[in-house]
């Protein structure tokens, strides 16, 4: 299973494992309205 895609300016690439871990941490702490 590939990691999600990340975009920096015009470049879109697969997240590194570290970036994916940061993403999960960020999303878990964000309340849905």
């Amino acid at each position: 299973m590939p990691n999600p895609m990340i975009q920096i300016d015009d470049e879109v690439r697969e997240m590194t494992d570290e970036e994916y871990a940061e993403l999960l941490e960020l999303q878990e702490s964000a309340p849905a309205l």
């Binding site: 999600p4 895609m5 920096i8 960020l26 999303q27 964000a30 309340p31 849905a32 309205l33």
Partner: protein, 205 residues
């Protein structure tokens, strides 16, 4: 001496000497500079587009680099179009590589209902915007992101289709002195596709 039609800038006569060319160009350049500064209201006046970023397809986050610089102290950021794979997802805003210490609060005004939420130690500005399968909503002002001062944000976060909430008044601060050049938007769930992020600078001079 010949002059231009509208602003009477001095230009050399046809019979003027070549040896006086440097001086003539300098005089004309100064006149253009002065007129532009006066007509525009400053060197970098008004609201100016400094970055335009198209969101890719099925991305889990979008980072906009080179968004902030010493030219402007305050910015307006708006997203038009776009969509999220999930309805009623939020857009989480982060600056640079800072992943802690975000302080924010917001109020949600629905029909006859007012609710609010906030945090004093978040990993990002949660619900700074809203993301639905129909559209993305983000409309915020950033103050001081490039300056070595607290970065302030405020704006209208959007709406929630399922709960019929709207008019989200939002404000927050990153209470550090980091100078930022980039920001990132991350959906609380799902992925983003399409839409355009516009970054405008508020003219400072």
């Amino acid at each position: 001496m010949a002059t231009t039609t509208n602003y009477s800038w001095t230009t050399p006569d046809n019979t003027a000497y070549v040896k006086d060319g440097a001086s003539a160009i300098r005089t004309l350049g100064s006149s253009v500079d002065t007129t532009l500064f006066t007509a525009l209201g400053g060197a970098y006046p008004g609201l100016r587009l400094v970055k335009k970023q198209t969101i890719g397809s099925a991305v889990s986050s979008v980072t906009v680099t080179s968004a902030f610089s010493a030219t402007y102290e305050a910015y307006k950021v708006i997203i038009a179009g776009g969509a999220c794979s999930n309805d009623n997802s939020s857009l989480i805003l982060t600056f640079g590589s800072t992943t802690s210490g975000y302080i924010y609060s917001y109020g949600v005004f629905a029909s006859g209902v007012a609710i609010g939420d906030g945090s004093t130690s978040a990993s990002g500005f949660a619900a700074a915007g809203q993301a639905n399968t129909n559209s993305l909503t983000f409309n915020m002002d950033f103050v001081n992101p490039f300056l070595s001062k607290h970065t302030l944000v405020s704006g209208l976060g959007g709406y929630n289709l399922t709960n019929n909430n709207s008019r989200i008044a939002y404000s927050g601060v990153v209470p550090n002195t980091t100078s930022y050049t980039a920001f990132t938007l991350t959906p609380g769930s799902g992925t983003l596709t399409g839409g355009t992020i516009y970054v405008y600078g508020y003219g400072a001079s």
